[in-house]
């Protein structure tokens, strides 16, 4: 039987604030442990938390841009659990009154646009980092090294409803969310640095069932690739188990990156009762209309707005989606070139294919400062009007990336303009035919592939500037006569 998977995703995004969530310690990016600490983020006795306003603004931005309802009288709650890297042995988080509730995020997958329902958007403080020596697991480690630099760094957690249907959809959702965080300027969004971390709740059920199956939480997926593989693996594992008549146990499983399997985690965190209660050290989080309006005024252009604009040029949904997640110089270049060429597909292919390829080859991150969008427009227009060949266009682009020049200058220097005058080309064709009588006879005897040779001869005798299409057309015509 084909079981239907249902997936919900919890994402933690590290916010790009200068200081931590509840103290003035700098948020640092260093491997040197324990360099950004104070009594508050170290949980020293008597220290108190004071909320970081910027972080709350960032979280509100995210909640608004995911169409959430904003909680006017939000609250900070304590989430109680013991872990060596959690200094207070409770985490300041949010419970029933989070910043945002009931939102949605629009994603694109396989030329289809759909909405992922968001359950909540809330604030959380990060924990420190544990390195369990000897085994990698707290229960069997010989010792544990602790780094509290990350302790108290502000996070926003975004929880989807169980609405995602495939691993690919999950990946598209994370890509969209990451782009949103980048465009809002609230996070560095680097997965490899753990700026974005996600857990997935996965269940499978038979297609005719109207209740969800038992969910299993998957942790430790550090890349989009592992997210996709872990979900696919887990769907497969659960489906097989059900087919064999086994029962799915509600549990937390760990993605083993090396072995590409999920493994059951039998540790104490699994069955915790977090005993949430409102933090008596912190007054209510007041997000009134005035505050929300201020945040709305700061709202930059969102990925979905960029996508909608790009779709209007005639790009496909997928092309617009990919382009909308590209660096801003790429989008800007596309808009400029498109306004001249009016050809979205060709413009898209030149920028996303040829230009990016050449840039990668040169090992640079973006074109040199002298590169103008007009140059690319001109290259495309010259090709479209048959003034140069497609391969000449590539040559011209490569030259411009290396030297400050214009397509016209390069085409002239390297003799790349094509001869399009039929009379002139016919003259050369006739000359070449008289010079190659024997070849012509072989063609007439059925050796069609020699036509290519003849076209080559025509181009060669013209010095390479002849439009090969016209040359071939005229040659064939001459031979028929």
């Amino acid at each position: 039987m084909n079981y239907q998977p249902t997936i919900g995703i919890e994402t933690h995004i590290e916010l790009k604030t200068n200081s931590k969530m509840f103290c003035r310690c700098k948020v640092v990016d260093t491997d040197e442990p324990n360099v950004s600490l104070c009594p508050t983020c170290l949980g020293l006795p008597g220290a108190l938390p004071v909320p970081n306003k910027r972080a709350i603004e960032f979280i509100t931005l995210l909640a608004l841009s995911t169409n959430c309802k904003i909680t006017k009288q939000g609250m900070f709650h304590r989430k109680n659990y013991f872990y060596p890297d959690l200094p207070k042995n409770y985490q300041i988080s949010q419970f029933d009154l989070p910043v945002g509730l009931d939102g949605s995020l629009s994603i694109v997958l396989n030329e289809i646009e759909s909405e992922v329902a968001i359950e909540r958007v809330h604030m959380e403080e990060d924990t420190g980092k544990s390195t369990h020596m000897g085994s990698g697991r707290i229960d069997s480690a010989t010792s544990t090294a602790l780094d509290f630099n990350r302790s108290g760094v502000p996070l926003v957690e975004i929880v989807t409803k169980p609405v995602i249907k495939s691993a690919k959809e999950a990946v598209a959702y994370i890509e969209e969310l990451r782009q949103l965080a980048l465009d809002l300027g609230i996070s560095e969004g680097k997965l490899e640095k753990g700026n974005l971390r996600f857990d997935a709740n996965i269940s499978v059920a038979s297609p005719d069932s109207n209740v969800l199956g038992t969910k299993v939480e998957i942790k430790n997926m550090n890349s989009l690739r592992s997210l996709e593989r872990a979900i696919d693996y887990e769907i497969e594992r659960q489906s097989k188990a059900l087919s064999n008549g086994d029962v799915i146990v509600q549990e937390t499983r760990h993605w083993d990156e090396g072995k590409e399997v999920t493994k059951s985690m039998r540790s104490k965190e699994g069955s915790a009762d977090y005993r949430y209660f409102s933090d008596p050290d912190l007054p209510n989080m007041v997000l009134d209309d005035e505050f929300v309006n201020e945040i709305k005024a700061q709202m930059p252009k969102l990925p979905i707005e960029k996508r909608t604009e790009l779709i209007k040029t005639g790009l496909t949904l997928s092309e617009a989606n990919i382009l909308s997640k590209s660096d801003s110089w790429i989008i800007e270049l596309f808009q400029n070139v498109y306004s001249s060429t009016k050809n979205p597909g060709t413009t898209y292919n030149w920028i996303m294919g040829e230009l990016q390829g050449q840039i990668r080859k040169l090992d640079i991150s973006k074109p040199p400062y002298w590169f103008k969008s007009e140059s690319l427009s001109e290259i495309i227009n010259l090709i479209e009007s048959n003034k140069i060949s497609f391969s000449s266009g590539k040559i011209i682009l490569a030259s411009i990336l290396e030297n400050d020049s214009t397509p016209d200058e390069i085409a002239k220097q390297q003799n790349l303009y094509q001869e399009n005058d039929s009379d002139k080309i016919l003259e050369i064709v006739k000359n070449v035919i008289t010079e190659n009588i024997k070849v012509i006879e072989r063609i007439k005897n059925g050796e069609d592939k020699l036509i290519g040779f003849m076209v080559g001869q025509v181009i060669k005798s013209s010095g390479g500037s002849i439009n090969p299409g016209i040359a071939k057309e005229l040659l064939t015509k001459e031979l028929e006569e």
Binding site: P39, L42, G43, L44, P45, G46, A47, L48, P49, V50, P51, R78, N80, F82, P84, P87, K88, N89, Y90, I138, D139, S140, A141, T144, L146, K268, D273, R275, Y276, F277, D279, P280, D281, L282, P283
Partner: protein
Amino acid sequence: MKIENKSIREINSLFQKKELKPSEFYHKIFDNTAQSESVIHAHLKLFEEENRNKAVQSDERFAKDQSLGLLDGIPIAIKDNINIKGYQTTCSSKMLSEYVSPYNATVINKLDQQQTIFTGKTNLDEFAMGSSTENSAYGLTKNPWNTECVPGGSSGGSAASVAARSSIAALGSDTGGSIRQPAAFCGLVGYKPTYGTVSRFGLIAFASSLDQIGPITKYVDDARILYNSIKGYDSKDATSITDEQIKIPSDKTAKVGVIKELMEEGISDDAKKEVEKVINILKAQGVEVIEVSLPLIKLAISIYYLIAPAECSANLARFDGVRYGLRVEGKTSYEMMEKTRAEGFGSEVKRRILLGTYALSAGYFDAYYGKALLARKNMIDEFNKIFNQVDYLISPTTPTAAFKAGEKTSNPLEMYMSDLCTIPANLAGLPSISVPTGLSKEKLPLGVQVMSKALTDDSLLDFAELIEKEVSFNDEPSDWIK
């Protein structure tokens, strides 16, 4: 009058007139300390060496007429749950026996600006949980009025120190009466300010929504001076508020309510008599005194013993042996934490952590903690209504005078009852002061408590001073001098 019996204002005036040097005064106080500590054990640690230097510096400032304020050179004792940078803060717990704070509490910074002399750190019930200072891991503190009796708690060391004149005044903390009750037991003024007016930054938390730092002094004016020095908005404490005082009548035009529920069963005749005495004095002054009823006050102890333990169960979770304090080794991190907490906490602290953990647990939250929050809110509403009728509420501070050491240790519920009258002010965040008014049949001091609405601290102090003046309680303890 003995010099150590004078008020802070009087001592400061002697310093200013150069009739007394701060160093001479400090030596006098330290002589008292040398005598009293072996009997009373008010201090866990004395800062003698550094204080001699500090007192000499104070001498120099007064000599040049450059003193830093009313508290310059005044010896003040600090409860050992308030952090002073570079010194141990033990909270009278084995858990923090070696813990040295790397930072100052905000109140310490404020007193430091006036170069107040800190006599040392005073004994308390472990993590401020208790009403007799018997829950200290470092021994009992005795009541200077009768050394067989407890000094009250949890700020028992601070109160005993002021009573035995080993300090001129002291800072305590009050979560359910921990300043007012020991002050009453030791014949002193104990003042819990409006919640939020004194920063809690650097006070080791017991129950964050109830904790408040305040003074224990011989006179109301001393309490006022200390309060004015330590109060004020603090950006390091998110619950800190700007001290915008509301004026209410504090002379004979004031209207006073006697809380009916705190003059009924459970209150000793001695304690009632003190309240009646004050009522008569006030009436004689022309003050209108009426009986008022706050029915929910009867639930105060029940509410308190859900909210305070719930908060403490989280506040004390940080003591796990991982980063500081006691560590008992174990095979895994969790085993180390478990052993450390089993070994480091005393039984009353464990009892409250368990109570609080239970009250917050899934399936019990709504029935216990949730209900307590609701009852607390209703009680606050009740107070708000009453304060539309009267300016002040009076009651006994404690149901009885000081009890004997060991008398209630085996019965926690009976011990909890000694905070019956003081807890409501913490639940409602109200300013509340205990003024010593007289002695019981056993010659032990008793106090009368006055409460008013939030942010009327200045008026409350003025009104308490009126009572203090009319009552003229002048006795002093002598039992400890053998």
